[in-house]
């Protein structure tokens, strides 16, 4: 809420047709959309390696990502807005990852789950891609080999903070 205080509110131009209440709402539009979107993440698990076990642990009852609104994995990139890259991505796999990312509709976010997706981890060789951020933009990196469920939850919360602070284009690029 403290952020609202620093957003400069332009005085209404003479002859402006909109009410002051509407103008106030438009300044809060990003906050409202961010609040709605951050609790309604539809993850697409792009699962390639052993981190998948940790993904299963964190998404099932003991840790339960449903508490953060990120419960229901969609197995089509077109129905999801959070791409979770879980595990090592090889150079042979990279075109597939890029295609999955491109198929997702805006708004979309990417999570690098574990060190392999983050930086290639201990793989420095002909086969492994040294971090998925070389081919697609990443919003949140989760360290660990594999990450503890608590680390993943922290990552989800950081992503939620990021979504809440983002500008959310709804009608046009500028609004």
């Amino acid at each position: 809420m403290s952020r609202a205080a620093v957003i400069p509110i332009e005085p209404l131009a003479a002859g402006h047709g909109k009410s002051a209440a509407f103008e106030y709402l438009t300044t809060k539009k990003d906050e409202l959309a961010g609040w709605a979107r951050k609790f309604s993440l539809f993850p697409y698990p792009f699962v390639t390696a052993c981190c998948a076990m940790e993904f299963m642990a964190v998404s099932s009852t003991p840790y339960d990502t449903d508490r953060f609104g990120a419960a229901l994995p969609r197995f089509s990139p077109r129905q999801s807005d959070l791409l979770m890259v879980v595990g090592t991505v090889t150079h042979k796999q990279a075109p597939i990852l890029l295609k999955v990312y491109e198929q997702m509709c805006e708004p979309k976010w990417v999570m690098a789950f574990g060190v392999c997706a983050t930086s290639g981890g201990f793989y420095q060789n002909y086969a492994a891609l040294a971090g998925i951020d070389r081919i697609i933009p990443v919003d949140v990196y989760i360290p660990g080999c594999p990450p503890r469920p608590e680390t993943v939850i922290d990552g989800i919360m950081q992503l939620q903070d990021r979504i809440a602070r983002q500008k959310h284009a709804i009608l046009t690029k500028d609004f």
């Binding site: 150079h91 990279a94 075109p95 890029l98 086969a127 040294a130 070389r134 081919i135």
Partner: protein, 170 residues
Amino acid sequence: MAAIFDTIAAELPALGADGGVEHGLLVVQLPPDGLLTLVRRLKLEWRFDMLLDVTAIDWPQRQPRFDVVWHLYSTRHRVRVRIRTRVAEDEPVVDTLTPLYGSAAFAERECHEMYGIRFRGNADLRPILLYEGFVGYPLRKDYPKQGEQPLVAYREGFDLAERDERAERG
């Protein structure tokens, strides 16, 4: 040790091969041209009915440079045989085992892409783990450790040459 090993070992000198028992399996060293004769007898006569793996070893300082290694298993005798042969770098060719063991086809494809060993008679040596267009043989000792050959163009800021320059400047 298994009686079958004694039977095989007695026949080896006639095939131009040496053999001995190491780590509980019979290790046979032979020249490449004796391979098919030996493996055919191992399969048909001594019932080594299962091909476990085909791989190679790179000895960069040695002439000839490569060892090609096969492992066979007998489900009747429950023992393994390892066959090693040496091939040179300028002509790394051995005979295929696909007429005897169907499972050799995939293993030979992998050995071909990783070490550059060619298998005479195997018509399908396309890459199996690597991709079309990969240059070089990654499991040879002289392949650079970080010899990346990406299929997707990197995003801005991840140009490899640029990164190396930055690293040099410190």
